[in-house]
């Protein structure tokens, strides 16, 4: 199982603490307050690592795509097992 999933920011709430993201093919709400506290606010189009309903780290698009590939490969293997 993958501990953190890449998520793409769609929309950020006005207070900067929550965002709508695309995660595992669905739109979900994610807390982005931790990154905001660190002075690293996120914007639509940014990629983050999501864990337990929170964005815990910012990643760049190349890292995100690589992780997504890895996640889908792992799931395929699990499905075949």
């Amino acid at each position: 199982m993958c501990m953190s999933d890449p998520a793409r920011i769609i929309e950020v709430a006005e207070n900067g603490g929550e965002a709508v993201v695309e995660l595992r093919g669905a739109r979900r709400r994610l807390s982005v307050a931790l990154l905001a506290l660190e002075g690293r606010p996120v914007h639509p189009g940014d990629w983050v690592l999501a864990s337990a309903g929170m964005a815990i780290e910012r990643i760049d698009e190349a890292q995100a795509l690589e992780l997504l590939q890895l996640v889908s490969r792992t799931r395929d293997e699990e499905d075949q097992a």
Binding site: S4, L34, L37, S51, G53, M54, I56
Partner: protein, 174 residues
């Protein structure tokens, strides 16, 4: 909360029991002694759902009660040490062990007891959480006042962020 009977205390948890708690300890009117309280206030907005955050003044009985709320507890407190202000000390106890706990700055308290006393008491009474993480932030000033010194303020913010990250990863791994 009254002391619960030992035989019932380690029973499987009710569904409503939080998996983890964070306890900020200190006195926000004694400058850097408020480091743990400030960390708790920051953490309240950034912990994963289900994690409970408390503020306590360090009184051992109240800490012992907070220890029993969840199997995993993080405690953040200011400490007195010869290190530069803002230096972070971390001690993990897995329910057993004898790690020494740095002294707390509660000199003004009528109880005159610190976190180390609470931990020793909890251990003696078999009331330590399954996993207890103690985070101490070295303070510079414990004079009257409600502002943290700059190095401690920076350390508090960093600690809050790193504890939130750790909790998210623990929760996800469960």
């Amino acid at each position: 909360m009254s002391r619960t009977d030992r035989s019932t205390r380690r029973q499987p948890q009710a569904a409503s029991r939080p998996p983890m708690v964070v306890i900020g300890v200190g006195n926000p009117f004694r400058r850097d002694d408020g480091a743990g309280i400030e960390a708790a206030r920051l953490l309240r907005d950034i912990v994963p759902e289900g994690v409970e955050v408390f503020e306590r003044d360090g009184e051992p009985a109240a800490l012992l009660d907070a220890f029993e709320i969840a199997p995993v507890a993080y405690v953040i407190d200011a400490v007195v040490s010869d290190d530069p202000p803002g230096r972070v000390h971390r001690i993990e106890l897995g329910g057993e062990g004898d790690a020494a706990v740095p002294s707390s700055p509660r000199r003004d308290s009528s109880h005159a007891l610190g976190l180390g006393d609470a931990v020793a008491l909890a251990r003696a009474l078999d009331r330590l959480p399954e996993r207890l993480v103690l985070i101490g932030i070295t303070g510079a000033s414990f004079e009257a006042g409600d502002e943290l010194t700059p190095a401690v303020r920076r350390a508090v913010k960093k600690i809050a962020a790193s504890v939130a990250r750790e909790l998210a990863q623990l929760q996800e791994a469960d």
